[in-house]
């Protein structure tokens, strides 16, 4: 039983970790907590659903499940389209809202409040477009595979874990080994010096939105694949996402992923040993404990 709980926690933690990477990047580079990030997860999932349905309609064979998974080629293709679309949505919101406030030298609290407003608008729009009724990428039933020690996981869940691990490594390499990654870290530390050093800070900010939104979309598609798609799915993940971003240390990509797994495991264990109604409180307790005991998080630098 405990092994199964750990497996469930790791799977949930992968989704939290992917979302938290986007939060930690936007927080460290744009310097505000974007509470609309959860909505990028929901919009990403719905964008993939629309694209997947459209692809399946255009070419029916694309909907045929790829063994042993529950989905056909339409979903991976739709994921790529949706990641781009979610990135463009994030850029649109930035141009329309956050960018204008930054240009006016708006205080952080104004940006945070604007984020709340954007989140409410985006969530309501999803409800208007798709209703609150849950949607699914596929209706194919999957049989969970035996993993040993009494634990089971579906092929979709195992794939999600593998994709999560690969994406974390990819983003880590991007940050540490590429010119854009160096530029992102430089802007995160000192935007003015970055500008003097020849970095186009606005270009870096655009890239961060695209990357953060694309990862949010991926997290949304995983959540939609493993659980279901709902307009509130991103909003419901917001607290665990922030708990993971802060526990991992703002700006640390591996930290966000590891902390995401920790939060996912803690939530799963709390469901097992305390009660399902305490699941959300677990993330909140972690958040408060980190802020009190180690505000810089596990891998962050002290303020």
């Amino acid at each position: 039983m405990i092994v199964q709980t750990l497996v469930d926690g790791l799977i949930a933690g992968t989704m939290i970790g992917l979302g938290a990477i986007g939060i930690t990047l936007t927080y460290s580079i744009l310097r505000f907590a974007n509470f609309a990030h959860g909505e990028l997860i929901s919009w990403g999932a719905y964008a993939a659903l629309v694209a997947s349905t459209a692809l399946g309609t255009i070419a029916a064979p694309l909907s045929q499940p790829i063994e042993p998974f529950s989905f056909g080629w339409s979903l991976p293709l739709a994921l790529l389209i949706a990641m781009l679309a979610t990135g463009l949505l994030a850029l649109f919101v930035d141009t329309l809202l956050f960018g204008r406030l930054r240009a006016r030298g708006g205080a952080v609290i104004i940006l945070v409040m604007a984020g709340f407003g954007a989140a409410l608008t985006m969530r309501s729009l999803l409800e208007f477009l798709f209703t609150t009724k849950p949607a699914y990428f596929t209706d194919t039933l999957q049989i969970a595979m035996k993993l040993g020690l009494g634990a089971r996981a579906t092929p979709d869940q195992i794939l999600s874990l593998a994709v999560g691990a690969a994406v974390v490594m990819g983003v880590h390499v991007l940050l540490t080994r590429t010119a854009m990654g160096r530029a992102m870290r430089a802007v995160s530390e000192n935007p003015q010096l970055a500008s003097i050093a020849g970095i186009d800070v606005r270009r870096v900010i655009r890239f961060v939105w695209l990357l953060g939104a694309a990862l949010a979309c991926l997290a949304g598609v995983m959540a939609g694949l493993i659980v279901q798609i709902r307009p509130h799915m991103g909003h419901d993940l917001l607290l665990p996402l922030f708990a993971a971003a802060i526990l991992g240390g703002i700006g640390s990509v591996p930290g966000a992923m590891i902390a995401g797994l920790i939060v996912g495991l803690a939530e799963a264990l709390s469901v097992q040993f305390i009660g399902a109604e305490w699941r959300a409180a677990t993330a909140f307790a972690i958040l408060v404990a980190v802020l009190l005991l180690r505000p810089q998080g596990l891998f962050g630098r002290p303020a």
Binding site: A179, R182, A183, R185, A186, E189, N190, Q192, L193, A194, S195, I196, A197, G198, I199, D200, V201, R301
Partner: protein, 250 residues
């Protein structure tokens, strides 16, 4: 090093700058710095020295006037494009990326160069600053004050600029380390890089400069050859402040 220039390497015309339009700190400066020249900008505290060079670099708003680099008008060029055009600026503080390694600081600068030229420029910087070459993987935040200044200068030089502007590079350094910084700047200048240096360390700065200008209340009040300026009694009086400064300055 940098691109060939005709006329002054860097010139300002009627430069007015400050954080707020209504309260200009720099109030109309005309300056022409010739290629290969090392000019030191002196003046009492609050004279507008740092604001002047920051405005040239594009990090303090410029309200009036024009800036020319090698004859080209760069007044409206964004700050991040100036380095690529050959104008490098080293701020007084927070002039390195402390969370990046030494190698990453240099690589970051070289990233704006064409790919084939990057490795060669970084090698050239390590050759010029061997202290940095010995531990490229060290986080820059762990360097001493003098080493940080060297890294900041190396980062600025990595792109091969024609003009290098430094804002008080000796601030907070021991006399010995400050002497090393000045010797390095002189060596850099001898390679053909035009240097504009804001300094409080008057004697040391004038000892390596060709020319000095003295700012008072945002305007040039005195200028001349560095050697002559060093022995000029006006200089001491200007730095004493109070009524003497006002009298001499007027």
């Amino acid at each position: 090093m940098g691109p060939a220039v005709t006329g002054p390497a860097l010139a300002t015309q009627g430069l007015v700058a400050g954080y707020e339009r209504d309260l200009p700190i720099v109030r109309g400066i005309d300056l022409a710095v010739q290629p290969g020249e090392l000019v030191v900008v002196l003046g009492p505290n609050g004279a507008g020295k740092s604001t002047f060079v920051k405005a040239i670099a594009g990090v303090v708003p410029m309200h009036e006037g024009r800036v020319f680099l090698g004859g080209a008008d760069i007044t409206s060029v964004p700050a991040h494009e100036k380095l690529g055009r050959g104008l490098a600026f080293v701020p007084q503080t927070e002039n390195i990326f402390a969370t990046l390694t030494i190698a990453e600081n240099l690589q970051l600068a070289a990233d704006i160069l064409p790919r084939p030229a990057r490795a060669e420029r970084i090698r050239a910087m390590y050759a010029m600053f061997p202290d940095l070459a010995s531990r490229p993987g060290l986080r820059a935040g762990q360097l001493s004050g003098g080493q940080r200044q060297m890294l900041a200068v190396a980062r600025a030089l990595a792109v091969g600029p024609s003009v290098l502007i430094l804002d008080e590079p000796s601030a907070g350094l021991s006399p010995r380390i400050a002497g090393e910084v000045f010797a390095t700047l002189r060596a850099i200048n001898k390679t053909g890089v035009t240097i504009i240096l804001v300094e409080q360390n008057v004697k040391a700065a004038l000892s390596i400069a060709h020319r000095g200008i003295i700012l008072v209340e945002g305007r040039i009040r005195h200028e001349g050859e560095a050697a002559k300026l060093a022995g000029d009694p006006l200089l001491g009086e200007l730095f004493l402040g109070g009524h003497k400064t006002a009298r001499v300055a007027s």
